[in-house]
């Protein structure tokens, strides 16, 4: 359940008691910044490796999605099959990485959808301000009040057998975090002197929007879409595991793991372990990026993130 922790809950209560800038010497802050940067690099490298693996390994290995091998059913890991084979004799090394690729592609599509919706929504909300802003943010609360997986299940159930439905079911339910981040960014920019200066200098509304606000909003929006990735992967696997996601013959981490229930009973541990490791590795890699992002944004935008 990789809920993004962008809205790191902030202790409203403690603010009045905390003298600004006072820290215990040599504690968390300094260390966190360092490890944050370290984790960013490690996370990016790991993510790069995973993506490269997902693209290259099935291609180099000549993966044939549809081919089954009657002679190699449920074989434990070996030199020929480093991750073993599944119930119909397909090589899991190729299939797991192909599955990671499929899952990441689905997740990336979802992330793009979420980011576009979230950015537009957040920007509009932030720019309008006042009661429209409050209303729009209440609507976000409403979307958040429906458990994402449940809403996803409803969408997928009604539009069965469609990959688009899977993508839409995830994309349409995860834009709220992006919307919040973008909105707070816009709100804080609006109050900055350079925006005031531009406006009082006679710049048009559109020019302010295009030249000052948009460029500032894009980086956090892009970052938060990266942060959505593991959650989207997670969702795809959960839907497929429940038999509601991608068609079972298509390689995806969720579909491979869906076979896991049987595999566990038959002692074919490799069918569960390797895809799970890939899944966890993806989340950990992105978590590295997320940690850096939190550390970077914490001092400056702390109160704004606590919406």
């Amino acid at each position: 359940m990789a809920e993004l922790d962008l809205r790191r809950p902030v202790v409203r209560a403690e603010e009045p008691w905390r003298p600004a800038g006072r820290r215990r010497p040599g504690t968390l802050r300094a260390r966190a910044t360092w490890t944050g940067r370290g984790r960013l690099v490690a996370g990016l490298v790991a993510l790069g490796l995973l993506v490269a693996g997902a693209v290259l390994i099935p291609w180099l290995g000549g993966l044939d999605q549809g081919a089954v091998d009657y002679a190699a059913v449920r074989q434990p890991p070996s030199l020929a099959h480093p991750f073993g084979t599944d119930a119909v004799g397909r090589d899991l090394f190729l299939r797991a990485f192909a599955g990671l690729g499929v899952s990441l592609t689905v997740a990336a599509s979802c992330a793009v959808i979420s980011t576009v919706i979230g950015t537009l929504y957040g920007a509009v909300s932030g720019l309008l301000g006042g009661w429209p802003d409050r209303l729009l943010m209440r609507a976000v609360d409403g979307v958040n009040a429906v458990p994402h997986l449940l809403l996803g299940i409803v969408i997928v159930a009604l539009y069965r057998g469609s990959v688009l439905a899977v993508i839409a079911s995830i994309g349409l339910t995860h834009w709220t975090t992006v919307a919040r981040v973008v909105r707070s960014e816009v709100l804080s920019l609006r109050s900055r002197p350079f925006v005031d200066a531009a406006i009082s200098g006679g710049a048009s509304r559109r020019r302010v929007l295009g030249r000052h606000l948009l460029p500032a909003v894009v980086p956090p929006a892009v970052l938060s879409s990266v942060l959505i990735l593991p959650h989207a992967v997670w969702h795809e696997t959960a839907l497929s595991f429940l038999g509601l996601g991608l068609p079972p013959h298509l390689a995806s981490l969720g579909n491979i793991l869906a076979e896991g229930r049987q595999a566990v009973l038959l002692g074919s541990w490799w069918i569960v372990v390797f895809p799970s490791v890939l899944l966890a590795a993806t989340t950990l890699a992105v978590a590295g990026v997320a940690a850096w992002w939190r550390d970077r944004s914490r001092p400056r935008r702390r109160s704004e993130l606590a919406l």
Binding site: G66, V68, A71, G161, P248, H249, Q262, L265
Partner: protein, 535 residues
């Protein structure tokens, strides 16, 4: 300072409560012995829950329903024996009527007495179009039923039907239960069955479980297994998981899974039954690709049936080329079996003008050799067979797109898209083949869903059904198989082995060759009323 302390104490209360609760849960969680089981009761798990228990809608059509009895019942050698009939049905010399004398002194679960009126009412309800009984398709030869006297009925047929006693397994229900006008689906029988069977229904929690209790008035004597609880768990893995945990006295499992866990499930025996239960890929005639004779011929030669059986079914199954199962050797035509021969399959397609494209997929003119195969993903055997079929089809350049769908979604599309279909029985293969492949049954639900039409097949099957004796019947059946193989309307893959785990605690088990219907009606428990708990 005092106030702060008080606040802190208050704040700690919930934490303490939580911790205490957790400890409590932990303490309760200590494993204890399972429930004391009554030796005369049995808990089974079934992967399929009937929609309804109305015999007019198909429940217990082939006997072994536990709740109902037919006039005849099939024995371990698949021969009809008198059940509610007092003796074997007698045919008139012209074969156009059968007379059945009824067993005296039988009562229904509701206490009413069984007589000829009930038999007549049941069969007339089947024939009544207003009842829309789905089992009606099983009685195309039946014209009318009349009560000769309270203990004798006569069935009048429109054409001779040699194996008619085998069709009399249809459960008999009280006349008053089917008296109400309107469709059969509105009858109370669906949820409150009344029969003469060895067990009566005590409770049915739909979606969860069913409890059956021995019928003390059963004409065969009160069953020694007094109580049967049937738990419905549609997911194969769930049943496997729970049977390993020792929760069930028996369940049905896919062959590979059953073998895999047989060693872990203590006190259970693995029962593997042969069956006439085929799995076939339909080739709908409304689809230009699957309607092409060359494609159908080629696919039949491209599938590695034995490979599928060994790899996916743990060897439990026999290759199928036609609906006639090898357990009936006298009816099987050896020349109608398709060999595994991808080279010949490719040659067939080449000759027919299906040209391989750059992507390996063949096409003829603008038509690519591509079709959709639907399967129900909840059934792992069908899922695996679908994937294997698609893989084999690709080797000869036919692109099979798979779609895992629920039955609700599959049914409306069966006319145009292929589906992994199951069915079959070892009692009357001629009739089963007629239902599945005769043009008279085209697009009638799951009967001939692909609307296969073949005049030679129709003719041979008609002759087999009307045959005056077994030898002629078998000869006509073999002629049917040759006609079918010359222009196959489906791709039969395998006759499935049925695998079960049952607790080794009862005597009376007899192996049986099963129809498609299995689980807890057929299966090892087909004669459970004659089982006795071991002491």
């Amino acid at each position: 300072m005092i106030t702060v302390r008080r606040v802190i104490t208050v704040r700690f209360v919930p934490v303490a409560v939580v911790a205490a609760l957790a400890l409590l849960v932990g303490a309760c969680a200590a494993p204890t012995a399972g429930p004391a089981t009554d030796p005369a009761s049995m808990v089974l798990a079934d992967g399929y829950e009937p929609d309804d228990l109305n015999p007019l809608l198909g429940y217990g059509e082939e006997g072994a329903s536990k709740l109902y009895d037919g006039l005849t019942a099939l024995d371990a050698d698949r021969q009809p024996q008198p059940n509610l009939a007092a003796s074997a049905p007698v045919a008139a010399p012209d074969g156009l009527s059968w007379t059945v004398s009824l067993r005296p002194g039988v009562t229904f679960h509701d206490g009413t007495t069984f007589d000829a009126a009930d038999v007549v009412a049941t069969y007339r309800a089947v024939l009544d179009p207003a009842k829309a009984a789905t089992v009606a398709s099983g009685f195309p030869m039946l014209r009318d039923v009349v009560a000769v006297d309270p203990a004798t009925v006569r069935f009048d047929l429109s054409s001779p039907f040699l194996l008619f006693p085998g069709r009399l397994t249809l459960p008999i229900v009280p006349a008053e239960q089917v008296a109400a006008p309107g469709p059969a689906s509105d009858l109370a029988l669906g949820t409150k069955p009344v029969g003469t069977g060895p067990y009566r229904l005590v409770e049915w929690r739909q979606g969860s479980s069913m409890v059956l209790e021995a019928n003390p008035a059963y004409h065969g004597g009160t069953p020694a297994v007094r109580r049967i609880t049937i738990v419905f768990a549609t997911d194969d893995n769930t049943r496997a998981q729970r049977v390993v945990a020792g929760e069930f006295d028996g369940t049905v499992l896919p062959p590979a899974l059953a073998r895999g866990i047989a060693g872990q499930a203590q006190g259970m025996v693995l029962r593997e039954h042969t069956s006439a239960d085929y799995r076939t890929i339909t080739m709908p005639f409304a689809n230009p690709v699957t309607a092409d004779p060359a494609i159908r011929q080629a696919l039949n030669r491209a599938v590695n049936r034995q490979g599928m059986i060994d790899a996916l079914l743990a060897g439990q199954g026999t290759p199928a080329s036609t609906p006639v199962p090898p357990v009936l050797p006298e009816e099987v035509e050896p020349a109608a079996q398709f060999p595994f021969d991808p080279v010949a399959a490719n040659a067939l397609l080449d000759t027919a003008g299906w040209v391989r494209g750059a992507d390996g997929v063949r096409s003829r003119g603008a038509l690519p050799a591509r079709f959709t195969l639907m399967y129900n993903p909840a059934d792992t055997v069908r899922r695996d067979l679908a994937q294997a079929f698609a893989s084999d089809a690709r080797t000869i350049g036919v692109d099979v797109r798979l779609e895992g769908l629920g039955w609700d979604a599959i049914e409306p599309r069966m006319g145009a898209d292929a589906v992994v279909l199951g069915g079959g029985n070892p009692f009357d293969t001629a009739f089963k083949s007629w239902q599945l492949l005769a043009s008279a049954n085209a697009a009638d639900g799951f009967n001939n869903p692909g609307s296969y039409r073949n005049a030679a097949v129709d003719q041979a099957l008609g002759a087999a059904l009307a045959a005056p004796d077994r030898a002629t019947r078998a000869a006509e059946l073999r002629r049917f198989q040759l006609a079918y193989a010359a222009d196959p309307g489906m791709v039969f893959l395998t006759f499935l082995g049925h695998s079960y785990l049952t607790r080794d605690r009862f005597d009376g088990y007899r192996p049986v060759v099963e129809p498609h219907t299995h689980g807890t009606t057929w299966g090892p428990w087909w004669n459970v009323e004659r089982w006795t708990p071991r002491t």
